[in-house]
Symmetry: D2
Subunit: 260 residues, 4 copies
């Protein structure tokens, strides 16, 4: 199975990258399925039904979220009803949405799990204990291909988590920092790993938002409203190929500028 | 000099406490001057010209701020022009407002300094180095009475700061946590100290905001809008008495419910 | 039932306060049971079997811990075997020790729960969800008197937690900040509450440790070894009185200097 | 000028990478000067005179540090006397060591600046204000080639800092996360930039330390001693080429395994 994973899509610029680049990438990379992180899809903060549908229409099969999952109360009903969008599984039980999705990919099934780190970020339960119970549950259902979007800040937590799930999931892909790392590889027991896949949006900003307000906060500590930037749009992601038993064969980085 | 210091005033409920209680307290406690923390005066976040004027009119002589000082861009001009309101002195040079004020109190002068801690909070410069230069500058001007509003989260930083300025300022009064502490005392070298003076607003909420949205965030991690509560309004503060040389004679806690 | 709760005991100075003051306080306050936080008992960091036994011998019936619970690997077996010492219940399942204890107090039983906050601190599960299941379990066992040591940093989390358990536990007592707060009261539904009971140790230091190394870190950021101070020893705690149904009748602060 | 910058050297494994790989890389890449981050050189925490000398002997011309700069009091005199090692310039004035070094590279001079971020990390002054005054000072001295090791956690702060110094320094190279990022490029105004150059040490661990204790802390929250790992050693760094005016011509990532 060939899986294209697209990193945090930021605002309208990021959505445009998806609309214009995903169909071509899907075909050029012979991807069987596309998973994308949409936690910043709606004006940089959270996702709405409209922006999610735009991403599905552009060819995304499953959407993941992160610490901004619940940023838009108007989306809670949508998170409850739409099975192809997942928010961190270790967020509180009883909160909107679900923590994993299982989709058919050809003859196979792919489970997409979303988990949030707890170093510098918040969750309701440790992602380490949570992933154990999710893996057990999905194995019971006979699902062999599992992809984890591990949405976390600290490299220590992400690298440790990769080792922890190595051999138990097909891919452990980090998101949240919005900067692609260069450490992609298949770990010894067969899990495709990268600390962060990077962001889809304007590279000319500060991790997706306009430079001026971002700098104003650092320089003056004044309250400048953050907005997604349109400058220098790129799609960042990875392509993971798995074998029939669910183990990863390869992982390669994707970094594609939007011709402008 | 008898100084009444009023802790973080939260929203309209907090401002009502000030309007209705400060005149009476001022007279009952024979306060010569009233200083109040206004960082939450405008709907719980920051201060505006209108809310500041309401507090001046109610008898506050000087207002201090904190980490929410710059939450309202519409107030920046006011912070620049009004000399009786101060924001953390260790915020960036060139940002709106100023870090200390000197007011006449009878024949004497009182300097009010605002500084922000850096443990779990942000500032541009260490409050420890900053207070040294401010004290030197004010001593040069012959000011003998110095009051520091030390706006900080961690008790370790607040207690350490108290020891650091002991004997060099008249009072080092903690703000920010919105819960009054019971450790008020005059330190050995003559500085009146309390870790936190507490909040002025609805005790029936969660440090001044309505219980429901606060609990919703902890229980569900969903995005509930915080609003000041009106339930069970109290004014919290301290009364500090200084001697002619600027040293503190006494500090006592003030906790006054608003008769409702 | 009259419960004396003693706040974070810091090092040998704190243990001496317990040895010399608890017997007298127990009798003067007619306490039926003594619970104490021992997370800093062993040289300021964690607890050992020897220091715990010293505290039991001095009249403590149950000991609680906090974020420093696992600081001393040599104590893990002791935490497993000694039923009168509890560490945060929301620490990982399978880690040393247990999260609650039930002790006989006259004809009654008292459950002591330890929970750790997650704002600025770490735990494996949300204390809010965790306390629900613990309360249900203890109610099933017919235990009517429940005391929670809520070990947390942020006042927002502590106040919210108090409201959350109001009417469901006899007392919700905050620890960790080492500074006693002045907000003790019985909440409307019957839970005795205080944001922090304060520390038992040298008030002449910085929340229990010697001033010099603490200041050195703030002033120079150099690596100074923290040690408990012996200067100006005090015991801080609260006395909670409960009714037969487990509800609180009263809570009052205790602050006792060690005559030196 | 061709500058090889080597990322955080962790423990004896990292030092061995430097000893065995730097001479070869220096020659193969035709590097004129080698700068390396040594904040983890001594058993993973801080640096000592002995480990620093080992790195100088292996061909490093200048060493930088970071948040662990002051972890070893026995090194303070060495930091004061050795001009080729720098600690964050925005650490407190009067603390050991210095914040920048100027070395001769052929006919030219290269200034190496070390600055520490303040998001999730601590410093005494904002790196943004600090870098302005350092740049001004070095320009006054006629130094055209400036390299900043910006030791920071948050990608937002690092990317913003890069934009802030673009055109004013030759290179702004991120360190601290120990994972190399894939975003190296010359920014529009001529500054070579990368969010993080990555680590030099065992890739088989968790950002340089052994897997088992790292996982134990995440899984059980128990106190396991961290030690550098020897497993799968790699050197990570970047090669920056500058032009005569100090602007960057190119930046390329270096990732070299130690043949074992
Ligand atoms: Fe995120
Ligand atoms: Fe994101
Ligand atoms: Fe505040
Ligand atoms: Fe406040
Ligand atoms: Fe603690
Ligand atoms: Fe403690
Ligand atoms: Fe570091
Ligand atoms: Fe490092």
């Amino acid at each position: 199975m060939r899986i294209l994973f697209v990193g945090d899509i930021v605002g309208s610029c990021g959505r445009r990258c998806v609309r214009e680049l995903v169909p071509e990438l899907r075909s050029r990379l012979a991807a069987d399925v596309v998973v994308a992180n949409a936690e910043n899809a709606a004006a940089g903060l959270g996702v709405t039904e409209r922006t999610a549908r735009e991403l599905f229409d552009a060819g995304c099969d499953v959407l993941t979220l992160g610490n901004h999952a619940f940023r838009r109360p108007e989306s809670y009903d949508f998170l409850d009803s739409e099975e192809r969008i997942v928010r961190p599984a270790n967020f509180p039980r009883g909160s909107p949405g679900r923590g994993h999705a299982v989709v058919a990919v050809g003859e196979e099934r792919l489970a997409v799990l979303n988990l949030c780190g707890t170093v510098f970020l918040e969750a309701a339960r440790s992602p380490f204990a949570e992933v154990d119970s999710l893996i057990a549950q999905l194995r019971d259902q006979g699902v062999r291909h599992l992809l984890v979007d591990f949405h976390a800040e600290a490299t220590s937590e992400k690298v440790a988590f990769g080792w922890y799930v190595d051999g138990r999931v097909s891919a452990c892909l980090g998101t949240h920092t919005h900067v692609q790392t260069a450490d992609e590889r298949v770990l010894p027991a067969g899990t495709a790993y990268i600390t962060d896949v990077g962001m889809t949006g304007g590279r000319g900003g500060v991790i997706g938002v306009r430079r001026e307000p971002a700098l104003e906060r650092f320089l003056r500590m004044t309250y400048a409203r953050f907005e997604p930037t349109d400058e220098d749009p790129w799609l960042h992601g990875v392509l993971v190929e798995t074998k029939g038993d669910g183990r990863a064969r390869s992982i390669e980085r994707v970094a594609a500028p939007l011709a402008t």
